[in-house]
Assembly symmetry: C2
Homo-oligomer: 381 residues x 2
């Protein structure tokens, strides 16, 4: 199989991660705590992973790193835990994923918040001038912004958005699921950042991260038992306990820690450079094929890891089917969880896009095989 669905889930999971998870599953009870030797070992594994994640995300206060089951879990908890009032304005980029859009839509129904969309230029890049105007017209309480688009691979101008949001007195939620491990981020100015453990960072499914900035903390949207203060009917105020009820998935959390080790070991710049070279190669080759449309931002410096395309004459599902059936190539077809993006792509006739997601272990040969297959399919139509 040529696996190019790394934007859904990174694969393969590095041997060091699988080994560590397997070791833990076989040798350690899952309940962390103080009561006995193995509970302390389990707790230590979780705290080691927290230290690594804090170092990785440049956070001084390690307890502001919260482990969750997924990025979806983390985003729901932040959005659901905020103190909403009718008329509160939330801005979203058109690149947001359903893990942000759907919880917001529920809050709209429940509290009457207003969801406003940030505009793009024709070249698929964010229109920062309009953004400023919109922020002054409708003072936002929250701005939600993914770092790398799950559809076009566009690297959003996070720093500019954060600055403008701060100027407007707004808080910011960044979804870094597809940038973490490829692009370094200073999380100092971010109020909330979430990422999945099994996308660009290359860890296992079952662990995600929620980074809480310096500002006011959300209410505990999910609550349950904690190692301390069990007699209190409220979650403890202390971090990270406040947001980590129940039993953490220690093997997945430790696996995420190992994924961070791997990124440190390889170096984030090297991983970016490798990914960028493969991304650019794929764009260049696909763009040269007749009948193929590629959906990427105009400025090639703002593009990474994900290449969406279509072949004229095929829906995206048909194209993915042919790639799977005849070439054993795994890509994803559809809206990629981000429906708002597609109105800028004019891809209705294709029912969305075919998406190739480049991962940590994607090779030039993988890219060449995809290109060859697309060329064959396009030529056969």
């Amino acid at each position: 199989m040529v696996y190019l669905d790394n934007a859904s889930s990174s694969f393969p999971v590095h041997k060091s991660i699988c080994d560590e998870m397997d070791r833990i599953n076989r040798l350690l009870p899952a309940a962390a705590g103080y009561d006995y030797h193995y509970a302390r070992l389990t707790m230590q594994l979780i705290e080691d992973a927290r230290q690594k994640a804090a170092q990785f995300m440049h956070i001084n206060n390690v307890n502001r790193v919260i482990f969750t089951a997924s990025a979806t879990d983390a985003a729901n908890r932040i959005l659901g835990g905020m103190d909403w009032h009718s008329g509160d304005v939330v801005f979203v980029s058109p690149y947001e994923h359903n893990c942000v859009l759907r919880p917001l839509n529920r809050l709209k129904d429940m509290y009457g918040i207003r969801i406003c969309e940030l505009p793009l230029h024709d070249n698929l890049e964010l229109n920062l001038d309009r953004l400023k105007a919109l922020f002054s017209e409708n003072k936002p309480r929250l701005v939600c912004c993914t770092y790398v688009s799950s559809v076009t691979g566009y690297i959003l101008p996070i720093k500019d958005i954060i600055n403008e949001a701060k100027n407007a007195g707004s808080r910011v939620l960044v979804d870094a699921s597809l940038s973490v491990g490829l692009i370094d981020i200073e999380t100092d100015d971010v109020d909330f950042l979430v990422f999945s453990g099994h996308k660009s960072i290359g860890g296992p499914v079952g662990a995600g991260c929620m980074i809480l900035g310096r500002g006011v903390l959300p209410d505990a949207y999910i609550s349950g038992d904690t190692m301390s203060d069990s007699s209190d009917l409220c979650m403890p105020k202390a971090l990270p306990a406040r947001y980590e009820p129940g039993c953490l998935n220690v093997s997945a959390v430790a696996g995420l820690g190992r994924a961070i080790d791997y990124i440190f070991q390889e170096g984030i710049k090297k991983l970016y450079t490798k990914n960028k070279a493969l991304t650019d190669l794929l764009v260049k080759e696909l763009s040269s094929i007749e009948r193929v449309r590629v959906y990427i931002p105009e400025n090639r410096e703002k593009h990474l890891s994900i290449v969406s395309f279509n072949i004229e004459g095929l829906t995206c599902d048909e194209c993915a089917y042919l790639l799977d059936r005849h070439y054993d190539i795994a890509v994803k077809s559809g809206l990629h969880g981000a429906a708002l993006t597609h109105k800028y792509l004019s891809d209705e006739d294709f029912n969305g896009t075919v998406r190739a997601g480049i991962g940590l272990f994607t090779t030039q040969k993988d890219i060449e095989e995809l290109v060859c297959a697309v060329r064959n399919i396009a030529a056969s139509l």
Copy 2:
């Protein structure tokens, strides 16, 4: 190590479960879907586990089995997804866990619901006569009831409670985390049932289950992307998609499926009988030791799997510390996530109880070692 903290997390996890999880982590991408061979395999693994869970729980409609990250996750989603109004009455047994109590307490603050406690007899059993009277005085909207107490191992009279709740027009939420795999349950009459994958059922941490009965479904408290209908800002109405946003932890879900295989293979009655014999042995032996207090229901038929005790002259933490330090025995000390229970135990001077939780792989030798250690400690005081 003598491991007797199975009520926190079952250990060891059976080899067949670890093997399957390891296989999946190494060989299969985690994203389930229709697009390519391996995504379909992943989807099939999840649906196989769902079939097994449905069969195991006697449910005709397999899609009413929802996989969650944990029982805590499941309980929060049910409670948070209900349509609450000020003054709504929720009854809880004094055996409820913080995974139910803490979310309810939040709902109390948010919506002004009233939380009422079901009363116990002096023998630590539920007072069903008073329950009937209370239900007629304060018509409940929901009754929350754990099946087996995490503190005393008391098997609550679930069927009676469900009948009385139905008569009062109330819905019922059962937490079966400590009964599933030991006691069969007909889920037909239960509106909501949750269980953890890593407690009495013996599966891995990282997967839980939420069973939805025939009644009205809760709102999707956690939302995100789904394999279908990505363009809709609401979660799809169809089950199970409505409650399974994002990427499921396929290895944990398949591991839970394997745990169910193991229960089927061994037979639930055999597992009950074995557990009951060890529980009774432990009670008998501990009760014979001077200075030892055991906290169990009077009727021995209503007791399973969990034995709470204290040694006069030691706090529960001191006792657990000595068992760990000098005897390498893993037990838990404290409130065991269920603070309400303890006012019936008069265990304030001990700061809670020492809890031995008997698991699938506990042996008579484990019990004997614990008894011997407790006898030594008690004699040394």
